[in-house]
């Protein structure tokens, strides 16, 4: 098991006005598996990724990555964000090298070239961030994360800010990169189609406090057709589960 999440509970705020974001959530992710988490907005998806990234501490329960308990950020896990979170005072290659301090310069150079090449951005080494489109910025963010050589990639709605065509392209690009360099990916999205297109499994989360309503295995060969019968049926099913959950909540 690459990621082992057990009875994870997260409560925000003090006792007076507390918000229960996650309640006793448990799941596992196998090595090199892509697991997608879908849920209604505000269901605690991002909270979950923050906890696994070690940016926040759980109220109860535990998270093991490679059998070691997560207590803080570590080089084995990198979190990617919807808003790219690139540093505008650095150029593209400096952004990619951001987490590589302490490595010999030749190694840093090699990783910059290798990962910018992998996301098809070689030739943009010296570009400023604002000169790039949203899709290109997210490619830089992907290269920056991969350059850390993490075993686990935590992706928090990374393509949600992109237009539809760019998003589809980036999904295909992520799978291409993953096939060349397999990693364990935990991918949070509110887009059911995206989850089915990418994931080996889709975990459907409830409204807050987040619990796992259903685990949907996606046993379809890649590349998947977004409009194939199996995908559409699966999508229909998950959307129904989410719609019921939304009705139950209101």
């Amino acid at each position: 098991m690459k990621i082992h999440v057990q009875d994870l509970t997260k409560q925000y705020g003090s006792n007076g006005r507390s918000v229960l974001a996650l309640r006793q959530i448990s799941f596992n992710v196998a090595e090199h598996e892509i697991v997608c988490l879908v849920g209604l907005s505000g269901c605690g998806k991002s909270t979950l990724l923050n906890l696994i990234a070690g940016l926040d501490r759980p109220t109860a329960g535990r998270i093991l990555v490679n059998g070691r308990e997560v207590t803080r950020p570590g080089p084995d896990r990198v979190l990617m964000f919807q808003d790219y979170a690139l540093f505008p005072w650095l150029d593209v290659q400096q952004n990619v090298a951001f987490g590589l301090h302490g490595l010999p310069p030749t190694e840093v150079r090699a990783r910059i070239d290798r990962y910018l090449d992998l996301v098809r951005l070689s030739g943009f080494q010296k570009s400023r961030i604002h000169e790039l489109s949203g899709g290109m910025q997210q490619r830089v963010a992907l290269a920056r994360a991969l350059a850390m050589n993490p075993e686990v990639l935590l992706m928090d709605e990374p393509f949600a800010a992109l237009d539809c065509q760019t998003r589809n392209l980036m999904q295909a690009e992520l799978l291409r990169v993953w096939e060349q360099e397999p990693r364990t990916i935990l991918f949070v999205t509110h887009n059911v189609e995206e989850a089915i297109f990418l994931g080996d499994r889709v975990l459907v989360l409830s409204a807050r406090p987040g619990r796992i309503l259903e685990t949907v295995p996606v046993d379809l060969p890649r590349p998947r057709q977004r409009t194939s019968r199996a995908v559409v049926e699966m999508r229909e099913h998950i959307l129904n589960v989410l719609a019921n959950e939304m009705l139950r909540e209101t």
């Binding site: 950020p73 005072w89 951001f98």
Partner: protein
Amino acid sequence: METSVVQRRVAREQPWRPRVEWGAWRSRVGPGLVQVSFIAGLVLAWQIVADLGWFEASLFPSPRGIAASFGRWAANGGLLTAIAISTRRLAIGYLLCLLVGIPVGMLIGRLRLAEWTLGTLVRLLQPIPGIAWVPLAVAWFLSVSETAKIFIVITGGIFPIIISTSAGVRAVPPLYLRAARTLGVDGLALFARVVFPAAVPSIVAGMRIAWAFCWRALAAAEIVLAVRTGPGQEGLGGLIDVARQFSQIDTAGMVMVVLAVLGLAADGLVFGTLERRIRAQRGLGNDE
């Protein structure tokens, strides 16, 4: 082809525009020429008023008198000495402002306790004009000393630096901090590699304001604390004081012009360029 109702409506509702568009004219001529000709016209009008003899020449400086005074003080070397001496005081005071102000501002922006203590102190001291520190400066340092004047310069510039730096640090997007931490950068490195660079635009804005404040405080200190020595030995403010003692109204006007031109030049050349470069590098809009 038949024009649709909508198209005709749009055509009818086009606003009326004058033949010669202001925008086009402005882009051809550029703002520089407008600025220069406006100031030139103003100087010309000023000279005409002075020539009309409505005001006594000893009370009303004229452009011609200022030019003559400029020639005199430039020839005897007094002006250059004054500029050199004032610049030195300003440079020392300003650098000390940055050296102390930026770290203190970062501390205030990042630590609650520092904000409640130091931040409160800064907000209390900030409204006090530099000139009001003169009695203390004289009491603590010799009034003829450089230290007293440099102290006044520091009181003029340090508070805007601290306030802009702390505001810039407080405004660093939390997303940057989370991104850096997930990439393994934390603690002091986070400060140096994320918090500081993210706050740079705000820090430079503060440096620009502080520069203007230091410049004013210096001139005030030099006027009040001037001691008579050689020509120009007491800086530009000292020259104003000499002009006051000997009722040389043109000299006073001349030093004011020099103060304005030097201040503007530094502001435009150094800070204007710096801010433009930072904005371009980060793709921020140019809303100067």
